[in-house]
Amino acid sequence: MSLLTHKHLLGLADYSEADITTILDTAERMKEILERPVPKVPTLRGVTVVNLFMESSTRTRVSFELAEKRLSADTLNFAVSSSSLSKGETLLDTALNIEAMKIDVVVMRHKSPGSPHFLARHLDSIIINAGDGCHEHPTQALLDMMTLRQKFGALKGLRVCLVGDISHSRVALSNIIGLKTMGAQVTVCGPATLIPRGIERLGVQVTHSLDEAIQRCDALNVLRLQLERQEAGLFPSLREYHQYFGLTRRRLEKAPAPLTILHPGPMNRGVEITSDVADSEHSVILQQVTNGVAVRMAVLYLLAGAKMPSTEMKV
């Protein structure tokens, strides 16, 4: 039994406006807990959460782990380096073995799109997607939306532009899906080689001009550029990328009104964003990180909290 209409959080693709609103509202209450002198509640006492991270990640794992600890869950970190995957065991066998140890929730990061969906078909545990390849990263999009909602009050009608490598970005896809569900207008901006085919079918505008995008949006979410995309021949050089798609103060000054700047991190300063933008008063990048813990607490509580009949969230 979950307080949402879903058992798992595999992605935002099937989440309704009501479910997303429930998560964001709950996250605001979780944020209050984080601001207390003792930022910890017993809500998930007795719930065991496994952080199954099969692709390197620092901030997302740390954020989940902190969220779990703030809710008093028992946590276990299972990283790829210490796993048996390197011994040729399949993902399914690994997951079944972990589940056989009587756990409740699996938070999974994996390089393969759909791997959380795959686990959800074979396991009884609650699955939370912490990033599956180039597919979805739902908690990142939720924390981005939480941050935007704090800034603008509502998401409906908000004009958001995602800038950078849309093709390989799970942050972009989850943001597009979530923001569209919440009634926002979404534009994607990047070089043609980094815009995936058929993206307009998701209801977004496409532009290859950052200056043009800046003219007609309220917030810019600047994506991290994976430097290996250059080696794959998807753009000529970091220098050219920065010149045409890098967010600089000079570019931003041409906006009709100050724009709010988001970045999922980690940043390549001087490539997709310059320091004077990243550290400016319009940047909400660190606020995103704080909200990340609150959103993950909310998701854990809403999916796993109702598992324990005696527990109630004490706020």
Binding site: A13, T90, L91, L92, H110, S112, P113, G114, S115, H117, F118, H122, D132, G133, C134, H135, E136, R170, L173, P196, R197, G198, I199, R201, L202
Partner: protein, 435 residues
């Protein structure tokens, strides 16, 4: 007659009557309800009297056609016996109504020399299924050096392919086409541009974007189809395009045929009946290569099958062990099984809707054998009995657990079909299921 329902030790067709069947043989202009008598594997059509000692099977309401032939299967032996063997694959063929199959050489090791090809032929020799081995076009399927084609043609090989991947080097492709053509054999090309499709897991488009999966663009197939057509024309050789899946491939093949270029092509049930959005649950039973394409591609393939642009209806039967498919979508291997569903799918969704029975027989009985320069089976007195027995009204549900194949990876699980293979007669054997 229980003794004929034996897949493991098939009964001899020594003195057997198929009573009251509708026999359809378009080459002989035969479409008539009659009795067929088989004595020691040889046919007698509408015999004046039925011998008193004959086994008589009442098959009223059934259709009998010359034996169906699947031009493209993978039997996995040697090397992949966990997923399929020559025996289990041939039993799947029998269960699916096929009296012949052409098996691809991408085994481990690959079938790239006479010793290995002969080994496979000998394993299949005692079975009721005609097994035609497609040999590798290049040694080790590495796309560099031609295999010893002359010796293989002497063994009976009529087709060479590096299937699973294309012959990417165009000079090698040219030489393979020229050399095979000299021998009266044909190159089967798995059409793909490996640079364009590298790393891909499904068709590139809206759905690959929604699912975050790396895409295989339609143009990567079409480009190679066009390359094969043009090089075949230049070389004056014949070329066969495997498992066509894109609209533009069909259009270029149609154009090439109009130009008199010697190109043939095949199409699979999954490309005729399914589209890319089936991948939405990340179910690896919908992962194959070429991938499921768009609705427009599917419709064009259906038209191509109907008008004969696509010569052959085949399955690309690609068995994989459960554990191989029970993996992440991008990690799991490509391929689906098809031998035991192709006939039911054809009768439910193709025959009578997109083409008539006569045309279907052309695509699945004659064209595959013509492409392989094999004799055509006939329903005529004095001919060896090579027959497929079909219950056109038989309703059934696709249950992978009931397959004779060792593998279960079908995208048609749970489908309700009307029309099923009842049995086959071939090579002196009869395998006919009880109802």
């Amino acid at each position: 007659m229980r003794k004929y329902a034996n897949f493991d030790e098939p009964a001899r067709a020594r003195n057997l009557v198929l009573q009251g069947v509708r026999a359809v043989d378009p080459e002989r202009n035969l479409d008539q309800v009659l009795d067929l008598h088989i004595r020691d594997g040889m046919l007698s059509v509408a015999p004046k009297e039925i011998p008193a000692d004959a086994d008589v099977l009442d098959l009223r309401g059934h259709i009998v056609t010359p034996g169906w032939f699947d031009l493209h299967v993978h039997l996995r032996e040697p090397g992949g016996e966990v997923a399929e063997t020559i025996l289990s694959g041939c039993q799947a063929a029998m269960n699916g109504g096929f009296t012949g199959v052409a098996c691809m050489p991408n085994t481990e090791p690959p079938l790239d020399d006479a010793g290995r090809v002969r080994w496979v032929m000998e394993k299949a020799a005692p079975l009721p299924v005609d097994l035609h081995v497609v040999a590798a076009a290049t040694r080790g399927r590495e796309g560099r050096q031609l295999v010893e084609m002359s010796e293989l043609v002497e063994l009976g090989v009529r087709a060479f392919s590096d299937d699973g991947k294309p012959i990417a080097d165009t000079a090698v492709l040219r030489h393979a086409l020229e050399y095979a053509n000299m021998l009266g054999a044909r190159i089967f090309e798995h059409a793909d541009d490996p640079d364009l499709s590298v790393g891909g897991a499904m068709n590139e488009g809206e759905w690959s974007t929604r699912l975050g999966l790396p895409g295989i663009p339609a143009v990567s197939e079409t480009l190679d189809v066009l390359r094969c057509i043009l090089v075949a024309r230049y070389a004056g050789a014949a070329v066969h395009i495997c498992h066509v899946s894109t609209k533009e491939s069909v259009e270029w093949i149609r154009w090439a045929k109009q130009q008199g270029i010697r190109v043939t092509a095949e199409v699979c049930p999954h490309h005729l009946l399914l589209t890319e959005e089936r991948c939405r649950e990340f179910d690896t039973d919908f992962k194959m290569n070429p991938p499921l394409r768009s609705e427009e591609d599917r419709q064009t393939c259906l038209k191509g099958l109907a008008d004969g642009t696509l010569d052959a209806y085949c399955t690309d039967h690609a068995p994989h062990a459960w554990e191989a498919k029970a993996q992440e979508f991008d990690v799991a291997p490509f391929g689906v099984v098809g031998l035991e569903t192709a006939l039911g799918l054809a009768f439910t969704h193709l025959v009578g809707r997109h083409l008539d029975l006569k045309a279907m027989i052309e695509r699945v009985v004659y064209a595959p054998r013509r492409i392989l320069s094999q004799p055509l089976p006939a329903i005529a007195t004095g001919e060896p009995a090579n027959l497929t027995i079909i219950d056109p009204e038989g309703s059934w549900t696709v249950r992978p657990d009931e397959f004779r194949s060792k593998s279960r990876n079908t995208p048609f699980k749970g489908w309700e079909l009307t029309g099923r293979a009842r049995g086959i007669v071939n090579r002196g054997f009869a395998v006919i299921k009880e109802v």
